[in-house]
């Protein structure tokens, strides 16, 4: 494969990959033993190899996608397996009426969380503080990774990323969005926040999340339940599978997901950005064509601007013929750093956080697979 301008020398790449491996093992292997410990070490090694390939080739997208898709499917398998363990079935059961939470739901019902935490705080109910703890974890991840969560650690992102990669070329070319449509996730976020607060229910989980298709916790009323299922199926099939497969665009992340909009807003706290260098950019628009989340608009490109919705996937950097677009760091302390340093710092942070998140479930699935194969 032709090397990209951003490729690093082999020795530097090996050193960086080794540092990453040691950090991941040090961070996550302590609490495990037996086959789980082995699985964690093996998975950390695989992450280090994938990261090493990115450093040494200078191309981000291929190995990031492999990692990201494994993460997503491992999450689904683990989620379903846990559900089977809990209920004896991976599909709808009438007795489960609880709504489990994930990071997307936390964003869209954040006001409810604040209110609950306020009540817990006032009544001294310390046991109910866990959402607050999760909030601290999320804040930490956001400070380190910002919007990059959506291309390095989110299971939904891994799903539509996977379907987008099934074709080499798009069957339907989809480059532009009508004005304002890229803001739909932000509008969905505001609507979800307010509606969740007024109904005191996580509306995203009850009406939007395609992952709920195969699980319980739906409202018992028949018509409502049917409508919810219809909504889950439509959103899942159209935005997670069909559109990404046809167009190579990550339609769920780019047009629906309220968490993406949330991270775009709060992620401003994080110092990493994707920037276009005006003196290098030839306005060839390759970046617009390949960006899977519509994060570069024609008008914006003229002013060398990338939208805050950019989730740092690196597709545009791999495609740019002049190496004009890349990671950068904002803020005075980083002003004098060369672009290569920003790139290495970002990639290390992304592999580390994404890798640490994946450590929760990928090794678990590896153990399950191993037991299944070994009979």
């Amino acid at each position: 494969m032709k090397l990209h301008q951003a490729a690093l020398p082999t020795r530097t790449s090996v050193v960086l990959a080794t540092v990453l491996f040691l950090a991941l093992v040090g961070l996550t292997a302590g609490a495990a033993n037996g086959e789980r410990l082995i699985a964690r070490i093996v998975w950390a090694g695989m992450i280090a190899v994938m990261a090493g390939r990115v450093f040494v080739t200078g191309r981000i997208s291929r190995w990031r996608s492999v990692f990201f898709i494994i993460l997503a499917w491992a999450f689904i398998v683990q989620f379903k397996a846990t559900l089977i363990g809990l209920t004896g079935s991976a599909f709808i059961t009438p007795d489960i009426q609880e709504v489990p939470y994930c990071h997307i739901a936390i964003a869209s019902s954040f006001l409810n969380h604040l209110y609950q935490q306020y009540l817990a705080f006032m009544s001294g109910a310390w046991r109910q503080w866990s959402p607050l703890t999760w909030g601290v974890v999320w804040l930490g991840v956001t400070l380190v990774l910002g919007q990059a969560w959506c291309s390095w650690a989110c299971f939904y992102g891994g799903l539509d990323n996977g379907f987008a990669l099934l074709r080499r070329k798009p069957l339907v070319k989809w480059v532009w969005l009508p004005k304002g449509v890229r803001d739909l996730p932000a509008a969905i976020l505001i609507a979800m926040l307010l509606l969740s607060l007024v109904t005191l229910k996580p509306i995203f989980c009850l009406w939007v999340c395609p992952l709920k298709l195969g699980t319980g916790f739906l409202e018992p009323d028949q018509l409502t339940r049917k409508l919810q299922l219809l909504s889950f199926a439509t959103i899942g099939i159209v935005f997670l599978v069909v559109l990404p497969w046809l167009t190579k665009k990550r339609a769920f992340c780019g047009l629906i997901c309220p968490f993406g909009a949330w991270q775009a807003f709060v992620g401003r706290l994080n110092p990493y950005r994707v920037q276009i260098q005006p003196d290098r950019c030839t306005q060839c628009q390759r970046c617009i064509v390949v960006c899977p989340t519509f994060a570069i608009e024609r008008e914006g490109l003229k002013q060398h601007r990338v939208l805050p919705y950019c989730n740092r996937c690196g597709e545009c950097m791999d495609a740019c013929p002049t190496d004009a677009i890349g990671y950068s760091l904002v803020g005075k302390p980083f002003a004098s750093l060369p672009p290569k340093t920003a790139r290495i710092a970002f990639l290390l942070s992304a592999w580390l956080i994404g890798g640490a998140v994946s450590m929760w479930f990928v090794p678990e699935v590896m153990v399950k697979l191993w037991r299944w194969v070994a009979g």
Binding site: Y115, K179, G180, D183, L184, A186, A187, I188, I190, A191, L194, L195, L197, V198, I203, D221, L223, T224, L227
Partner: protein, 203 residues
């Protein structure tokens, strides 16, 4: 009368967060979409909205007090559903007309609609959307009886709940950008559609 006013005020204060939750889905996207950008203009918009709510409260309080025990809560339930449908329809219409001025039909509707009175209209309609605190207030007036008593009680209730609506003005600094206005318009359509759906499902 002072005691009744105070009683209404206290009830409003204690149930205010709930009222805030009921009003915010309509008011926040509206403020964003309106995009006035200045605190002063947004204060005017919120005041118009609140005036609408006050008018609805006073009229409703007086009517309930007057009819007294003959007005059963189930009657108000129908009124609430109808008001919810109309509120949602006004929201959607407003957002579509405002968001798509380039469409001929929208431009025409905009000229016919009293667009400038939308905040007031929303306030009136939300005022008669029956939420639990409102029902408690109504039950108390039925107990007390009398049109004037009802109006005074609701005046206090309005003052109590309004205090908690004021923080919604924090969205003001965000409303200047075109992007925020677009997001507000889209959110208004989504929220309007949601309430129409829930009204249809009868929940």
């Amino acid at each position: 009368m002072i005691r009744i006013l105070l009683e209404g005020w206290l009830l409003g204060l204690s149930t205010g967060p709930y009222c805030l939750g009921a009003c915010a889905p309509f008011l926040v996207p509206f403020l964003l979409a309106e995009g006035a950008g200045t605190l002063r203009r947004n204060v005017a918009l919120v005041s118009e909205f609140l005036l609408g709510r006050l008018v609805a409260y006073l009229a409703f309080g007086a009517a309930v007090g007057w009819v007294g025990e003959t007005l059963k809560p189930h009657l108000s339930q129908h009124l609430a559903s109808a008001a919810l449908v109309v509120t949602s329809a006004v929201m959607i219409l407003y957002a579509v007309v405002k968001g798509l001025p380039q469409w001929k039909l929208c431009a025409l509707t905009a000229r016919r609609l009293p667009m400038r009175r939308v905040p007031f209209l929303l306030g009136v309609l939300i005022g008669i959307n029956v939420c639990p605190p409102f029902l408690v207030a109504m039950a108390r007036i039925i107990q007390l009886g009398g049109a004037a008593t009802g109006a005074v009680f609701f005046l206090g209730f309005f003052a109590g709940t309004t205090l908690l609506t004021v923080p919604l003005l924090v969205v003001s600094p965000f409303t200047r950008s075109q992007r925020a206005q677009r997001i507000g318009t889209l959110a208004a359509i989504l929220i309007g559609a949601w309430f129409l759906l829930t009204a249809w499902l009868g929940r």
